[in-house]
């Protein structure tokens, strides 16, 4: 086993660190909370030029054909300053297209995203569906020109700004994925602000979709893989969130004085900080494992690694961000202080692509779980 970064991975990480320091400190995300888009198309283009958006995508669509773990390393850095560009939403939608689309569809929909010209969103969650992508009420009816999609999707991450929506729908006996133009007549997009200062959309569909916008592959398997990629991505970003709040909190403990001494000299606070460190390291371990196993052909192995990482993220991330607020004291609950922004992002990451309870159920339902 080897967990050292390669030379390329080190350069990639350094580029991401440089970007967060020079161009996207937390103050940028803070300002963009009030922007109707919530992120910058210019920065998005720059990310495309840097190659970040194409890291795990093949060269045929302009990508770098790399491994997912390379993107995970970038996401961990971007999580440290809460960079708001919609890499994760575009990634999961793109993964679904990659898994289920043919070469022409992949080229048509992935190339502009990979280049940073536009973003994508995956519309899968429904009102009574919880986190199971198999719970689909949206239906696809066949028409002479293709399909008519009828249904409602909820909390489509970045759905308010994406150039294309990848929509899951019941298509006869199977679940299929359709690429829907959000500007088409019959698509109603209602932007929703989310607690982490970003945007999602509620999407009402009663829309005609051309036949060539249906992805031919198995929609359910593509969706499940895409959501696992999303979960692994959330874990990587979450580790960055934890590292940032741990650093912020220990810095505060080293400088804040009460009773005439630095509060970091109090053992009760030292031990709390030590536990935050422990949780951060454990979450990094499972996050890296998930990133490396995400394309494992063995589905049980992939599921075990991804669900473990998401469960550990929830346990660790909740502890680390909550204690970060506690250790900051009163200042920690002001909107003015950054620690609350991280805390709220962690809540969103924990919910995204299946929360801990959902992942526990999946983990325990794997074949082999009971074997002793």
């Amino acid at each position: 086993m080897n967990f050292s970064l390669t030379e390329d991975q080190r350069m990639l990480t350094d580029a991401a660190i440089g970007f967060t320091r020079k161009q996207s400190p937390v103050s940028r995300m803070r300002k963009l909370r009030d922007d109707p888009i919530g992120w910058s198309p210019e920065v998005w283009r720059q990310m495309g030029e840097l190659g970040w958006l194409g890291l795990p995508f093949p060269e045929a669509v302009g990508g770098l054909g790399g491994k997912f773990v390379d993107l995970a390393l970038v996401l961990e850095q971007l999580g440290q300053t809460l960079v708001p560009e919609p890499i994760v939403p575009s990634l999961v939608a793109g993964m679904a297209i990659l898994a289920a689309g043919d070469a022409a569809q992949q080229r048509a929909y992935l190339t502009p995203m990979v280049a940073g010209r536009s973003s994508l969103a995956l519309a899968w969650a429904e009102v009574d569906g919880r986190y199971d992508p198999g719970n689909v009420m949206t239906r696809a009816e066949r028409t002479s020109a293709g399909f008519r999609l009828i249904g409602r999707k909820r909390f489509v991450l970045d759905g308010h700004a994406a150039a294309e929506l990848v929509v899951s729908a019941c298509d006869g006996e199977r679940i299929s994925l359709f690429v829907v133009d959000p500007k088409a007549p019959g698509v109603r997009i209602q932007p929703v602000r989310t607690l982490d200062g970003r945007r999602a959309a509620l999407v009402d569909l009663e829309v005609e979709v051309a036949a060539d916008r249906r992805l031919e592959g198995n929609g359910k398997a593509a969706l499940e893989h895409a959501l696992d990629v999303g979960a692994a991505a959330a874990c990587a970003e979450g580790v960055g969130v934890m590292r940032a709040v741990l650093a912020m909190t220990t810095e505060y403990l080293r400088t804040r004085e009460q009773f005439g001494v630095k509060i970091g000299s109090f053992q009760v606070l030292q031990h709390r900080a030590a536990d935050m460190f422990i949780e951060t390291e454990l979450a990094y371990s499972t996050s890296i494992e998930a990133a490396l196993r995400i394309d494992d052909d063995n589905l049980a192995e992939r599921t075990a690694a991804v669900t473990s990482a998401k469960i550990q993220l929830a346990e660790s991330g909740r502890y680390v961000t909550q204690q970060a607020i506690q250790l900051h004291g009163g200042i920690g609950i002001t909107d003015e202080h950054d620690v609350g922004l991280y805390f709220k992002r962690m809540v969103a990451l924990n919910t995204m692509f299946g929360d801990a309870e959902h992942q526990v159920t999946r983990f325990a339902a794997r074949p082999g779980f009971v074997a002793v």
């Binding site: 086993m1 080897n2 053992q267 030590a274």
Partner: protein, 391 residues
């Protein structure tokens, strides 16, 4: 980055598994099957079997009779032995005083002591803690007075694990009462048969005699029994702390206890269903297994760094804390799964429905894991000070 075990290490793991399956004596297997407590003579029997195989001291260099295994192979051997619930060899000779003598001892000391440790002919225990020197070890008072050709030792040591079975004890003793704390301490080897030594085992809350108290009353110890320089024993003791961090995580013990929990859940009924089919217990098992996996992966990270010959990274400092906590959590879940049966204390055969009769004893005894080998509070102090820069 790569999660795969190298072909060499995969082959070694297979070799270890095959060896255990073949070499564990039939009369020890029923105990291994339920992770039961082994008696001293059973442990020594297994020690001799591993010695014959050349695996008693995997971390010793070959010139001293060790297996000379690399750090990953050592972990694999340790992990497989734990997972198979084989009798755990006493670490005090093989893992502590042996390496100390190899690193700091004279050639005479090495010739005198190492072969007998290796062969299991002499058993060792550790004399560090005292009634008033626990976490604050450097405040120890047991004295060794210079009487020309020998030292005269007086004082009391406690937590001398299995001293009742041991032939020798390695002690930290104060040789210079005027020097400050750490600087006046020596690392001294004492034959427990020497007149003036009294060993008294006591019961733990687990109902077993794991620890002893040991008194020294004008005990004469030859000067050549000092390891390293006189007054420099703290350096010797500190060097031992850094050894084999990845084994302190006890991942094998946690793994086999998790397996025990599933075994119990798979045959324990609650009315019309088995506990393994109960969503609440299934969730608890799953969450414990996830914590086990995150520790395991952290342990692999630590090993990967050591395998490259680098100094341990920050991740290695959390292994003892989380490993010891998870041993306790795993036994707590085993107790919960057993229900009423968990209350039975060393039951006669047949009293408890299944064969897990030692769960209650070990559940109680393993409250020690977060205390021994540097309490978890001390471990957190170390993280806070040395990694997080708090103080």
């Amino acid at each position: 980055m790569d999660l795969a075990l190298s072909p060499k290490h995969t082959a070694f793991r297979d070799e270890v598994r095959a060896f255990i399956a073949d070499a564990l004596p039939a009369h020890l297997r029923p105990k291994a099957a339920i992770d039961a407590h082994f008696e001293h003579h059973e442990v020594m029997e297994w020690h001799r079997i591993l010695y014959k195989k050349g695996w008693a001291a995997p971390n010793w260099p070959v010139e001293h009779g060790g297996a000379g295994l690399d750090v990953t192979s050592r972990f694999i051997l340790h992990d497989e032995l734990e997972l198979a619930s084989t009798p755990p060899l006493s670490p005090f000779g093989l893992m502590m005083v042996g390496p100390a003598i190899i690193q700091f001892g004279t050639p005479d000391q090495q010739r005198r002591f190492l072969p007998k440790i290796l062969a299991g002919e002499e058993v060792w225990c550790q004399g560090y803690s005292e009634p008033n020197a626990g976490s604050d070890l450097a405040s120890l008072k047991t004295s060794a007075e210079d009487a020309g050709s020998h030292f005269v030792v007086n004082g009391q040591k406690t937590w001398t694990t299995y001293a009742q079975h041991a032939n020798w004890v390695f002690c930290l003793v104060r040789t210079n009462p005027r020097a400050k704390k750490q600087s006046g301490i020596s690392f001294l080897l004492i034959d427990l048969k020497t007149p003036g030594v009294t060993v008294k085992p006591f019961l733990t809350i687990g109902g077993t005699k794991a620890f002893s108290e040991t008194w020294f009353d004008n005990v004469k110890v030859p000067k050549q029994n000092v390891v390293g320089e006189v007054d420099a024993g703290w350096t010797v003791a500190k060097a031992l702390l850094g050894h084999e961090r990845t084994q302190t995580a006890a991942v094998g013990v946690i793994g086999r206890t998790l397996r025990k929990c599933k075994r119990i859940a798979a045959r324990t009924r609650a009315g019309d269903h088995l506990l393994i089919d109960d969503p609440v217990f299934r969730g608890k098992l799953a969450r414990l297994e996830v914590r086990y996996r995150s520790l395991q992966m952290t342990n692999w990270r630590s090993l990967a760094v050591a395998q490259l010959g680098h100094a341990p990274g920050p991740e290695s400092s959390i292994l003892k804390i989380r490993g010891s906590e998870l041993v306790q959590q795993a036994y707590e879940l085993a107790m919960e799964l057993m229900g009423h049966d968990a209350l039975a204390w060393f039951p006669e055969p047949g009293v408890v429905a299944d064969l897990e009769e030692s769960v209650a004893s070990q559940f109680c005894y393993f409250r020690a894991t977060t205390i021994y080998a540097g309490s978890n509070e001390i471990q957190r102090n170390i993280i806070a000070k040395h990694i997080l820069g708090l103080g």
